[in-house]
């Protein structure tokens, strides 16, 4: 790999002792990237940008927030009304959480479709799952901080999940609370941890990127790059593409922040927390709905395990399963483009996840269809939960053996330039700068 041409004497002096500029040149400038990446490859950098935005706005919010049960709600209202641009900063932080999950979910499904979890990127994928778990914990902790009704009852419900663990469940919940209910001690530690975890995420993201840059990005064709014909330098080609994607994202994000900042929230969280009155419908934030649906779908005991414990196990297993994905899907072909059967089941899984989300948003015993009273959301939830596990535990291992993939192209260059004709080769020439 070439060294960058550094002419500035100060930069030269620094780089000789601490090669930061060489490193940046290597990883962000010349970093060879498959030339066929489509817009689904924008979501990684987008997630990184949102993470930074969340940390910056979060640090600022912490300057005005008071983690005490008597002051938390009022301090958030003060941020909304009195602090200069406090409304903007809080709405960016609030909707930023939703945007983070949208972007990360798309990023994950991109990985599922194009087989980005397969060798040699298993650890890259697993680090990503760790990031997802940390994000979920951070989002949950953060949602408690405004100390509204949903904050309080969400915290109560989620911490009570741990009481399902046999024998040590109750002591664990008391330990989490620092008392005998969600109270001031709980709020204090949640604030502390909500501040800590994003920096842990940054650490794992660094590992995620190191792992990524070790073998480079996967690509829509899903085959390894074979040489310079398959690759282009990251800068300017993907810096520009990522910036364009960022622009599009910001337009959509701004629509939410400025025109519908509370669309994804729940109005009950603008009611101060009341430990003596539970709101009629407790619904988690939208990004937890599919998992909430899985949690509620287990209504039966198996052997000595009761329904409550099984629900908790199923919910955590739905994500834990992703750690095993590289070994559940043994097909040597990465991209779904060349896997005709997997491609169809991928979309079934996407639809299944949407259905789980809808189930999570509705009361379990409400009928799904108005004129079919006996078919309730709980039943739909059971079916879609079963399918979710069926997809990963049965379908993927079976497809690995049974599916006959389409023939793969010889190189990335081939499908991109429509068979690599002479004229196409000539067009690509001016792009290489001397």
């Amino acid at each position: 790999m070439s060294k960058p041409q550094i002419t500035n004497p100060v930069m030269k002096w620094v780089d000789h002792r601490l090669p930061v500029f060489t490193f940046m040149h290597h990883e962000l400038h010349e970093y060879p990237t498959p030339k066929n990446l489509n817009y689904f490859w924008n979501f990684g950098s987008l997630a990184g940008i949102i993470l930074v935005t969340m940390i910056v706005t979060g640090i600022v919010l912490a300057m005005h927030y008071t983690p005490h049960i008597n002051h938390a709600f009022d301090s958030v209202e003060r941020i909304m009304r009195d602090v200069n641009y406090g409304w903007l900063i809080r709405y960016v932080h609030m909707n930023g959480a939703s945007a983070f999950f949208i972007v990360v979910f798309i990023h994950i499904f991109r990985g599922l479709y194009y087989g980005s979890y397969k060798a040699p990127r298993e650890l890259l994928w697993m680090l990503g799952v760790v990031i997802l778990l940390l994000m979920m914990a951070t989002a949950f902790l953060g949602y408690v901080l405004p100390w509204g009704q949903m904050s309080f009852w969400g915290a109560t419900v989620i911490t009570n999940l741990f009481s399902a663990i046999p024998l040590i469940g109750e002591p664990i919940v008391t330990w989490l609370w620092g008392g005998f209910s969600v109270d001031n001690a709980t709020l204090n530690r949640f604030f502390s941890l909500h501040f800590l975890l994003p920096f842990v995420i940054v650490g794992v993201v660094v590992l995620h990127i190191v792992a990524l840059h070790t073998h480079g990005s996967n690509n829509p064709v899903g085959i390894d790059t074979t040489g310079d014909d398959d690759q282009i330098p990251f800068h300017p080609y993907y810096t520009v593409k990522d910036l364009f994607g960022l622009g599009v994202f910001l337009v959509v994000f701004s629509l939410f922040v400025f025109y519908a900042p509370n669309y994804l929230g729940h109005p009950d969280n603008y009611v101060p927390a009341d430990p003596l009155q539970t709101p009629p419908h407790i619904v988690p934030e939208w990004y937890f709905l599919p998992f909430y649906a899985i949690l509620r779908s287990i209504t039966f005991d198996i052997w000595i395990l009761d329904a409550k414990l099984l629900g908790v196990i199923a919910m955590f297993a739905s994500i834990g399963l992703l750690f095993l994905l590289p070994w559940l899907d043994r097909s040597p072909v990465r991209s779904a483009r060349y896997r005709p059967i997997y491609r169809q089941f991928f979309w079934v899984l996407v639809i299944d996840c949407f259905i789980l989300g809808i189930v999570g948003a509705n009361a379990p015993d409400d009928p799904v269809f108005r004129n079919l009273g006996s078919f309730q959301y709980i039943h739909l939830g059971m079916i879609s939960t079963a399918y979710y596990f069926f997809h990963f535990l049965v379908l993927l291992p079976l497809l690995s053996v049974l599916e006959k993939p389409k023939p793969l192209p010889a190189s990335i260059n081939e499908p991109v330039l429509g068979g690599g004709l002479g004229s196409a080769g000539a067009v690509s020439k001016p792009m290489e700068k001397a």
Binding site: D82, V83, N84, Y85, I89
Partner: protein
């Protein structure tokens, strides 16, 4: 920057500005403006909030203050010394040769009504609260205030006369709403 001669782009001789240079500059400037606009709320949030600003004026009823008496009120978290000066104190403040002062300032410029001296009670040296407002406290050699931290002496106009402090006690913005009611801030 390498000049690229793309199709349909006006090529120009070396050293002259091209369309691409203009586009990069314009985009960069637009981007820099955007970054600034996005950064401003994050910076401005650290300025005093609306409720802090709303609490930044204080009204004081002067009715109960006797001649020669001093009171201390809290304004923006700091003490403000209000003195109803006697004729002797006014005379004393005005008899001084202004040019000889550490921080030359005429007494007339420091008061709106000679009878009422209103100054911020924070020593201009290192921020201690000077003594002398309460009965029996040391007022210093010039019968104004005395800072116990490093020995600065202030006169009956709140001007620094002796000691390490570099400036006179500052006069806050204030206005008389009526004869006996003053609003500070």
């Amino acid at each position: 920057m390498a000049t690229s001669a793309g199709a349909g782009e006006a090529t120009s001789a070396e050293g002259t500005e091209t369309r691409r240079d203009f586009l990069i500059l314009a985009t960069g400037a637009f981007g820099a403006f955007g970054v600034g606009a996005a950064a401003w709320p994050l910076i401005d949030q650290m300025n005093p909030a609306a409720d802090t600003l709303a609490a930044s004026t204080t009204e004081v009823n002067l009715e109960p203050i006797q001649e020669g008496q001093r009171i201390v009120i809290k304004w923006r978290g700091k003490p403000v010394f209000i003195t109803r000066r006697s004729q002797a104190q006014i005379q004393e403040a005005r008899a001084v040769k202004v040019a000889d002062l550490v921080d030359p300032e005429k007494d007339e410029d420091r008061v709106q009504k000679p009878e009422w001296l209103i100054v911020v009670g924070v020593c201009t040296h290192l921020g201690c609260i000077p003594l002398g407002s309460k009965q029996g406290e040391k007022q210093g050699e010039y019968k104004g205030w005395f800072c116990p931290c490093h020995g600065s002496h202030y006169d009956t106009s709140g001007r620094i006369r002796k000691g390490p402090a570099p400036k006179n006690l500052p006069v806050p913005t204030y206005s008389f709403l009526s004869d006996k009611l003053v609003r500070i801030g």
